[in-house]
Assembly symmetry: C2
Homo-oligomer: 197 residues x 2
């Protein structure tokens, strides 16, 4: 017989398989299809491992990786709301809070509390770890958009000013160098587009 | 201008996006499609975070998570070879070694060496961290197979004896409790199947 706490852990691990079916607006770099939230979380964890030296503050890489691995699990219940479609954001915080309670609540109590706390810390984006994690979550789609001739910027008809207004604060707070790079790439993209018009 | 080392880091992060297009034989639990290696790596990292208390040895969770996040990146060049299709395994070690050189070699030198060393440590499965990481890599597909009425066991016509011969050593060495659970689930599955025959 499986010990009860291990059974809860396995239930959780089976349940989060559903994150692989939550599809985001962002394209893969080869544009073959849209990215799902599980593979997006993997990619962001890789960003944290590779780019941690560029964090604004002193970060605990394991905590950052852990935050990024779990940050989208709430979307299993709450769905993904595209960053550049503000009209979809209403009520999302509450939906995600309820999702965090249910999904992390599948785990044994101590572990459930640990994951829930870490998810709330990520959402609050106040600690150095969370600020860096958030900056990567905003930076990766910018890299994908510049690598796919505009990606969601074109799809959502976003201006360069909107990209800057939405992305500069979270990226710059967590990783100033990454914002410099991202701003340069975005400016290049919009300059080329304006030349085509 | 992007600093040269950061440019190499971003090249690597763009290149590994291709892991999302490497498709494994294993099904998602809802059987809607097969799993890809990027989302599989995310899932395994979650297994490590959730199940680390069950490791046979003393493990450094960050190192285990890191190993699992990078363990399949070589498949971008070398492809995935299904565990239960031994005929595909010939020459794979050499293909993966070359892939590790090329792919991790995209990173700045120190980081490239660090990732390459960690990948070789995972492959060797000698350290406590690597033994636990390997055990999870074998355990997760067993959980999927029992949750999908047989999954790759049915597809590859694998017997219970073959499952045990192939999976018991790596899982038991890294996490004895998980082998007990997995063996029980596999026995249940094969007993039910034999009752249907």
């Amino acid at each position: 017989m499986t010990p009860p706490d291990l059974e809860r852990q396995l239930d959780f691990l089976r349940e989060i398989d559903r994150l692989k079916s939550v599809v985001r607006l962002s394209p893969l770099i080869d544009r073959s299809r849209r990215e799902n939230s599980a593979e997006h979380s993997w990619h962001l964890a890789m960003y944290a491992l590779v780019l941690s030296e560029h964090a604004a503050g002193t970060v605990d890489v394991l905590r950052v990786v852990k935050m990024l691995l779990i940050h989208d699990i709430v979307e299993i219940d709450a769905g993904d709301v595209p960053f550049h479609v503000p009209a979809t954001h209403s009520g999302q915080n509450e939906r995600e809070r309820l999702a965090a309670e249910r999904l992390f609540g599948l785990l044994p109590d101590t572990q459930a509390a640990d994951f829930r706390d870490l998810w709330f810390e990520f959402e609050a984006a106040e600690s150095d770890d969370a600020k860096f994690a958030k900056s990567l979550d905003r930076f990766q789609p910018m890299l994908h958009n510049t690598a796919t001739n505009g990606g969601t910027w074109v799809e959502c008809e976003v201006t360069l000013e909107q990209v800057k207004a939405r992305c500069q604060p979270p990226i710059e707070r967590g990783a100033p160098v990454l914002w410099e790079v991202a701003a340069g790439m975005a400016e290049d993209h919009y300059r080329k587009r304006s030349q085509l018009d």
